[in-house]
């Protein structure tokens, strides 16, 4: 049997197909892509470049079914977020005995004076730019909230020489204000199989990680610092 027109294909699909393309289901959905932020920094980080299962990419890194597209579903983008996670974060490395290298002893350094203070995010669909966001880790913060953190001051009167004191473990995060969510308004519809690209670039120069003195150390394999981009919105898929 030879199908010669779209109408014939549609009729055959309705009679014998497993999917009903005339009716769509809408559900809230988040697509996310994490990549390792290298110790030495990177000129460009490309998110959604790998599908889940591709290479060493697991569901912790992405839930994308196909590199660079949402496969056979449409997606209405309602917000863009960036995220940061470290598998094992050493909070106690910042202490009196290593005050001389304090900048290397807390991930807060990278939030306060590291890559979070730099970069530009671009979202392109079919090679056309749809978003250019400066300082994206600040301008497009996470959709959720970091845990609460409360610290107390510490001083050591027996320290030698007197005066070597560390007070308070530093703790900084991306903003916890959910009102700061970067809303894509008007929404953007990315159609099925449409190629898109999300990347964060540092064209003004690499920004190496500052927190190099943690234990376990941040490295690109066993304790990587991951940065991610999350697209929140509505998934539209045909009924079955």
């Amino acid at each position: 049997m030879g199908f010669q027109s779209e109408a014939v294909v549609m009729a055959a699909s309705q009679q014998f197909g497993v999917i009903d393309y005339s009716r769509f289901q809408a559900i809230r959905w988040q697509w996310y892509g994490f990549v390792t932020y290298p110790l030495a920094g990177a000129s460009e980080l490309n998110f959604f470049g790998n599908a889940v299962g591709q290479g060493a990419t697991t569901l912790a890194d992405t839930n994308l079914p196909k590199a660079g597209s949402f496969g056979q579903t449409h997606f209405l983008v309602k917000s863009i977020s960036t995220m940061i996670r470290l598998r094992e974060n050493d909070l106690t490395s910042f202490n009196r005995t290593n005050v001389a290298t304090a900048d290397q002893r807390s991930l807060s350094s990278d939030i306060i004076a590291g890559f979070v203070q730099a970069g530009v995010l671009t979202l392109s669909i079919g090679a056309r730019p749809f978003a250019t966001i400066p300082k994206p880790f600040q301008y497009a913060p996470p959709a959720g909230n970091e845990p609460d953190f409360d610290g107390s001051s510490v001083s050591d009167p027996s320290a030698t020489p007197l005066g070597i004191v560390t007070a308070q473990v530093p703790y900084a995060t991306q903003t916890r204000n959910r009102g700061n969510l970067y809303r894509v308004d008007p929404n953007i519809l990315i159609e099925a199989e449409q190629q898109f690209e999300v990347k964060i670039s540092f064209p003004s120069g690499l920004v190496p990680l500052l927190a190099t003195g943690l234990s376990p150390a941040i490295n690109d394999t066993t304790n990587p610092l991951k940065v991610g981009v999350l697209l929140d919105g509505v998934l539209l898929r045909p009924m079955q």
Binding site: G41, S109, Q117, A118, Q138, P141, A167, Q168, P170, N177
Partner: protein, 246 residues
């Protein structure tokens, strides 16, 4: 050539459809270096991507601006819904070499002197007048723009940390930043549309005296060496890009 013919050719063979427009959220932004010696005026949207920042001499990239043409947003409409201003220290990796090589300045370097860089930053955030002119006509004049039109983005610091090497006096550490809540930004009502090729002049003026001086205000971890931190100030118009469909 008759304009009707040009229209037909464009509709048939053109790369953009000028009969249909697409609206997307976007920002027009420009970050420039603040003169550490102090200045009476900082100009924005003067130097597009690829040109040099007048103070640092460094070539501007999309990290600093998305302006492709001096003093204009080019061939697209832009609807301004928010004005945001920003002031902050550059990332440590982009500070002067002495600061890049130091291992303990974030939690003491900016604040440990009585006259510290962080104090100067606090002064900066309380000063200035922002002037926005479109086609040489004044449209917005915002006093203390870092307060009345804050950045509306930033980070949360739950605990600032503090560290001090071999000195009798231990000082608290502190960070001063513009308000990071997005609801605090300067919203425009009614919104302001900027048509293609309209001349844009944006300046941050310090009429009473020059902007805070940042030269050699931070002390490094040996407590003797000083350095001049690099400070950037920025203006961001948040709103809608209106451009022809493709």
């Amino acid at each position: 050539m008759d304009i009707a013919i040009l229209d037909k050719i464009q509709q048939r063979f053109g790369s953009a459809d000028f009969s249909r427009y697409q609206v997307v959220r976007g920002q027009k932004y420009d970050f420039v270096r603040l003169n550490p010696l102090g200045t009476n005026q900082v100009s924005f949207f003067s130097n597009p991507i690829g040109s040099s920042d007048p103070i640092s001499g460094v070539s501007k990239t999309p990290e600093q601006t998305n302006l492709v043409k001096s003093a204009s947003f080019g061939q697209e409409f832009f609807v301004v819904t928010q004005i945001r201003t920003y002031a902050g220290f550059l990332a440590k990796a982009r500070q002067p070499t002495a600061a890049v090589n130091a291992t303990s300045i974030i939690y003491q370097g900016y604040t440990s002197l009585a006259v510290s860089a962080m104090e100067r930053m606090n002064d900066l955030l309380h000063r200035g007048v922002l002037n926005v002119r479109l086609a040489q006509k004044l449209y917005f004049q915002i006093n203390q723009p870092f307060i009345n039109a804050p950045a509306g983005f930033g980070i949360d610091i739950a605990s600032a940390g503090a560290a001090k090497l071999a000195a009798a006096v231990v000082k608290d550490n502190y960070f001063v930043r513009s308000d990071s809540r997005s609801q605090s930004v300067y919203n425009l009502d009614p919104v302001q549309m900027i048509e293609p090729e309209i001349q844009i002049e944006v300046s941050l003026d310090f009429p009473e005296t020059v902007s805070p001086v940042f030269t050699s205000t931070g002390v490094l971890d040996d407590n003797t060496t000083t350095f001049t931190p690099s400070v950037e100030v920025g203006v961001i118009f948040d709103g809608y890009v209106v451009r022809p469909s493709q």
